[in-house]
Structure formats: structure tokens, C-alpha cells
């Protein structure tokens, strides 16, 4: 059942491929469909499938430039202008929240990427969400049933965004805690994956999302406009993000954020993250660690 559900996500993702390539992408075992992380299209090469164990070529014809153009047309509904801001950042989101990274000859204007001419490759990333990822964790992040300000810390690729999304979903839905209004600043659209105004990944019924603008501006916009009880952001990467979070704390909003790092000591050594500890902006820290190939969540008090 689980395999079938995951395979369906893959089948939904490859709908944006030109029909004759899609046939080859679907001509793989169900288990591989369920495990596939990405489908890679490179001009002059056959399709490639990225699996947890590595990348493998699929049988079938070699990809041509026009295939990539059709991919963009199908993913954007022949409306490049409506997704151009995303394309300028190198990707676009298709129905279902699946993300297509694009490469080619960049068109620059005043130093900024305006788009791509002659697309050369694309990475179709299958959007997968793990509902229940925060089971056993969220309970430790609440005091009297209410979420406390939490920072999720882990090196890249360990599932920070997945955990963040599931905590948001449960807090927003009041699943195992008090229901709260969540405002999410989703700069790169990786948490909610808005598609024509609708989140493609489950973020709960009381969640408002701003996408596509710098995190600090998104956070301030949400704070002013949406009266949130929880302010969520994926990946604190700049001093402006920290400043915006500080303002939010002053307004009595609960914070929920992720950052790259391995632990408290690591944070203390980094100028960017040090204020988060010094100003006591977060009360809980969740570290994600991998031991013997198994992902584990370690919850610590920061007070």
C-alpha cells in the first residue's frame, strides 16, 4: 500500500514529461517508482533515474532540447510568464509540488538571471512528504499542549524540511497539541510548494503561506498582515532572517525554524547563529542525527 502510494507520487511527477519520454519513465518496476528521488534529463543522454542507491540510465531515446522546452510548457501550462520568477531562480514547481530544476545558457540583464536560452538539462525532483515524521517529537516540543519556539538543526540531507513540514501540519491541525495559526515564509517553495495558490504538500488547515520572497521580508509581511501565532521558516541563512525572527519574538509569536548545523556547540561558534542562543529566541532544539543508517531526533531544552 505504502509502495503504491509512493509510486503514485512518481507517476504524478512524470506527467510533465513529453509523452514519448514518459512512457520510458513509467516502464520501470513499481518499487523503483516508489523510491525514485529524481528524474534527470540531459540533452544528448537518455533519461536517468536517481535512486537512494545511485543514478541509473533508463532505456529509451536520447533527450533533445525540444523535450526540455515541452517539459517547461507542460509544467507551466504554457504560461512561462506566470512562473518566470521561479525560473529566474533556476526551478519551477509543477502540480503536485514536484520541482523542476533547469539549466542552460543563462540570459543576464544587469547581472541578474532573466531566464534560460537553449535549455541543456533538467532535474525533476519527486515531491515526497512523510506524514507522521514528527510523531514522538512534537509531544516533546509542547508545554501544556502548546508548541514552544523550536529550532530544528541538522546537516543538509537529513530531513529538516520534512520534519518542519510535519510539525507545521500537526500544529496547524491541532494534532497532538493545541491548534495554532501558522504563518510560513517559504522562500523557495520547498515546504508547502504552492501551485496556483494551493499548497501541494500538506501544511495544515490553519497555515498561511508566503512564497517567492526573501525570508526576512516574508516573515515581516506575515507578522504585519496575518496575525500569526506561530511563525515558521525553513533555513535561517542570513543576519536579516535572524533580525526578523527577533522582531517576531518581541511580538510574542512562537518561532519554528530550521538551520544547518550539528549541535549547540556548533551554533555557538557561528556568528550568524550565536544571537539565537544569546537572545534565547528558541526554547527547544531538535537535532537530527543519523546513527547506523537510521535517522533519530534528539530534543534538547535551550533554557
Amino acid at each position: 500500500m505504502e509502495i503504491e502510494r509512493e509510486a503514485m507520487r512518481y507517476q504524478q511527477a512524470v506527467r510533465v514529461l513529453p509523452p514519448y519520454l514518459r512512457r520510458w519513465a513509467l516502464d520501470i518496476p513499481l518499487r523503483e517508482q516508489a523510491e525514485a528521488e529524481e528524474v534527470r534529463l540531459r540533452v544528448g543522454q537518455p533519461l536517468a533515474l536517481v535512486l537512494p542507491k545511485g543514478e541509473r540510465w533508463l532505456e529509451g531515446p536520447r533527450v533533445e532540447t525540444r523535450d526540455l522546452e515541452q517539459l517547461v510548457e507542460l509544467a507551466s501550462g504554457a504560461s512561462l510568464h506566470a512562473v518566470l520568477d521561479q525560473v529566474r531562480r533556476g526551478y519551477l514547481t509543477a502540480a503536485g509540488g514536484h520541482r523542476i530544476g533547469l539549466c542552460g545558457s543563462a540570459v543576464l540583464r544587469e547581472g541578474d538571471i532573466q531566464g534560460f536560452r537553449n535549455l541543456s538539462s533538467a532535474a525533476l525532483r519527486v515531491a515526497r512528504q512523510v506524514q507522521g515524521a514528527s510523531k514522538g517529537v512534537l509531544e516533546q516540543l509542547c508545554r501544556e499542549g502548546r508548541l514552544e519556539s523550536t529550532l530544528i538543526l541538522a546537516p543538509p540531507g537529513l530531513g529538516k524540511t520534512t520534519l518542519l513540514r510535519d510539525v507545521i501540519r500537526r500544529v496547524s491541525g491541532g494534532e497532538g497539541c493545541l491548534p495554532l495559526r501558522v504563518a510560513l515564509a517559504d522562500e523557495r517553495g520547498e515546504v508547502a510548494a504552492l501551485y496556483r495558490g494551493s499548497p501541494q504538500l500538506e501544511v495544515g488547515p490553519r497555515t498561511d503561506v508566503v512564497e517567492g520572497c526573501p525570508k526576512d521580508r516574508g516573515l515581516m509581511l506575515m507578522l504585519r498582515a496575518m496575525n500569526p501565532q506561530v511563525l515558521a521558516v525553513d533555513e535561517i541563512t542570513a543576519p536579516q532572517d535572524v533580525a526578523a525572527l527577533k522582531t517576531a519574538v518581541g511580538c510574542g509569536v512562537t518561532l519554528l525554524a530550521t538551520a544547518h548545523g550539528t549541535g549547540r556547540e556548533d551554533m555557538e561558534h557561528r556568528a550568524l547563529y550565536r544571537p539565537l542562543l544569546q537572545e534565547r529566541m528558541f526554547r527547544k532544539l531538535v537535532r537530527i542525527v543519523r546513527r547506523e543508517g537510521v535517522r533519530r531526533y534528539v530534543v534538547e531544552d535551550l533554557e
Partner: protein, 169 residues
């Protein structure tokens, strides 16, 4: 009696051809005007909030008329079947069907297939405005031709019919 009926039929047929030709000129003028209006509306909507083409067509269909409406309805259907036919080819096909626009009108519209939904909205709006201006010019020429030729066609039809009737009688 049979000869009389035959002569009458020839006269009426000839006149119908003449009036038909004149009517075609009028229809071309109308179609060019309608399409120009439709493209101007499209440019306005793009400037308003640059909606995806599917939404754009939904907004334009009830507000446009004649040939422009047919074109937008065709686009809406084509957008539902992008897997089968790229939008640029669908546009080409839809324009080809609008013979009433004449070759000049169709030639103005063909390049739009390579632009709509394929670049930023500012660029699309600019090209839509240029195309609308070209259609306006084509419309002016068609109006002039209608003024000049429709009476000629009507007169030719009537006089041709009369001549044939005389000869037959």
C-alpha cells in the same frame, strides 16, 4: 416559361455571387476589428496580473466576440491537450482556420504562437500591441477595399445576372 425561370435563376445567382463577394469584404473588416479588440484585451489582462494562459482565456472568452472569441475558445481547448499538441502548433492551426481574416490578417497573427506563454508578460504585451496595430492597419486597408470594391462586386453581380438573363431570353 422554363426559359424565364432559368433566366431568373441565373440573374439571382449572379447577383448573389456579387453581393456575397461584397459581404466577404465586410466580414473581413469585422473579423479584423474583433481580433484587434481581442488582442488589446489580452494585453490589458496580462498587464493587470499576468495570469496563466488558461485563466487568461477564461477571462477573455465572455468579453470578446466573433473571430476573436472563436480563437480564444480554441486556445482554451488546446491548453487542455498540451501533451498532444504544443501550444505554438495549436495556435498556428487555429489561425489557419480563421480564413475570414484574409492572408494579411493571418500573417499578423502567426508569430504570436511563438510568443504567448513563452516569455515575460511585458514582452508578450509589447508584441500583442504591435500585432494589434498591424491588424488595425490591415483593417483600414480592408475597409478601403470594401469601400472601393463592394459596389463593384454588387454591380458586376447584378449586371452580369441581367446580361445573362437577356441572353437567355
Amino acid at each position: 416559361m422554363v426559359r424565364m425561370i432559368g433566366a431568373a435563376l441565373v440573374a439571382v445567382g449572379s447577383a448573389w455571387l456579387g453581393f456575397g463577394a461584397a459581404g466577404e469584404l465586410g466580414a473581413r473588416v469585422r473579423a479584423l476589428e474583433e481580433t484587434e479588440e481581442g488582442l488589446s484585451l489580452m494585453a490589458q489582462e496580462l498587464e493587470l496580473d499576468a495570469p496563466p494562459l488558461e485563466q487568461l482565456m477564461q477571462r477573455l472568452i465572455p468579453r470578446s466576440r466573433g473571430g476573436a472569441r472563436r480563437l480564444f475558445e480554441g486556445c482554451q481547448k488546446a491548453l487542455e491537450h498540451l501533451e498532444e499538441e504544443p501550444f505554438s502548433l495549436a495556435w498556428q492551426r487555429l489561425v489557419e482556420k480563421e480564413e475570414v481574416l484574409g492572408r494579411e490578417g493571418q500573417a499578423c497573427l502567426y508569430p504570436l504562437g511563438e510568443v504567448l506563454g513563452r516569455c515575460g508578460w511585458e514582452e508578450q504585451r509589447r508584441i500583442l500591441e504591435v500585432t494589434a496595430r498591424r491588424l488595425e492597419q490591415a483593417g483600414a486597408r480592408a475597409r478601403e477595399e470594401r469601400g472601393r470594391m463592394s459596389r463593384v462586386y454588387q454591380a458586376l453581380g447584378l449586371s452580369g445576372g441581367a446580361l445573362a438573363a437577356i441572353l437567355l431570353l
